[in-house]
Symmetry: C2
Subunit: 233 residues, 2 copies
């Protein structure tokens, strides 16, 4: 160990990472407390604290008051995934975006959708189907339900120019949501919209978003064949 002059939280984080990777501090092992590390690195405890908190957040350390800090036994890696507006996703690839509305109706949903939306039996929701296209080719089929009692404004929008995806992102602040990824075989209407054969494997993203304890919307996005989601760890 070199007793260098540096003392930024980045330096501390990097060195601790190195010691973990090099097994100088093996999985499960206690590491020195913040005061000792601060002395070793020649910096304030707050600096060490910041570095260690980041590492704990990344899943590499387990920290508990009084018990101290130890190297995580099973470093559960966490990936971060960006959830962009579809138009931006397409434009970022250098393609031109286009959208067409397929259907817009007030409907009583089936039991599955009703449960996800936490709406009451018999209540009508706004149902919208649309197609997102990239340079003329089908990109994703959007099947969306909107809770009109939480979002009465949506009833006034016709969604023929702007997709519900974009209208919601720009106009409706939300607090949280659930996302699910899965794979399905194309059904007849999806196959038709996405210009593929029935039975083709398609990537599906389902999302519900909520604010102040109300479900605002549920969307099922079915992507054209070949779609991939990419992230780093």
């Amino acid at each position: 160990m070199t007793r260098g002059e540096t003392c930024s939280w980045q330096t501390v984080e990097e060195e601790v990472r190195r010691r973990i990777n090099a097994r100088e501090w093996p999985p499960g092992e206690m590491i020195p407390n913040e005061v000792d590390l601060a002395e070793e690195f020649g910096c304030a405890r707050a600096t060490v604290n910041r570095a260690l908190q980041r590492l704990a957040d990344a899943g590499l350390l387990d920290r508990r008051r009084r018990a101290g800090t130890r190297v995580a036994l099973h470093p559960i890696r966490k990936a971060r995934l960006d959830i962009p507006i579809i138009r931006h996703e397409i434009e970022a690839k250098g393609l031109t975006y286009n959208y067409s509305l397929l259907s817009r109706k007030k409907l009583v949903p089936n039991a599955g959708v009703q449960a996800r939306m936490q709406s009451e039996a018999g209540v009508r929701l706004l149902h919208i189907e649309g197609l997102h296209m990239a340079s003329g080719a089908p990109y994703a089929h959007e099947n969306r339900w909107i809770n009109l009692s939480a979002l009465p404004d949506a009833a006034k929008v016709d969604f023929s120019q702007q997709s519900p995806n974009e209208w919601l992102v720009l106009n409706v602040p939300f607090e949280g949501g659930d996302i699910t990824f899965s794979a399905i075989s194309a059904r007849a209407n999806e196959a038709a919209g996405l210009s593929c054969e029935e039975g083709t494997a398609l990537f599906v993203v389902e999302r519900t978003t909520w604010a102040s304890k109300h479900i605002l919307t549920y969307v099922r996005l079915t992507f054209a064949p070949g779609y991939r989601v990419h992230t780093e760890i």
Copy 2:
């Protein structure tokens, strides 16, 4: 505004979130600088700084030195995804885990795999196929390549008792990786392993991991029908 007595960073973060959601600070708008906010909330600048940094990290604010802080125009939401060991994923569902090795050979990979592994033409890699099972039912098919020049120890492991997935996580520290999610139609060998019909839509996770600029391993996990990845936003 109530001039409350509270002054934790959580309080500040919550209040700023509220103002953004309530459009008191509309998208694109500048917000007061840290000194002013600290005075308003009756706390130190460092406390405000911590709250605002978290919000910027979450994508709700854009901050730049000298230019100040403004509400993000298109709040790109970021989801966090845990990447568990498959055995843990299965056991967390209350099922019993089982693993069987299907194949283990040193092979020269095809061009696609060679490119992903950044290995040289003609060099043999360790190729392993195995099946993860949950309470007797097929769960995921693992198709893995290991770079033996970066991980010579792997040549000594037979992987009949422990899956490469688990051996790697426990024994090989890595610095980063790429992850891709997609959907495919089951090919003959996958359909056989996963007890489904050829052509069934399957969820696929591909992952490469690296350390000190070397690709360590590339894995393609093909999950049994019905698999879903879930996360929150």
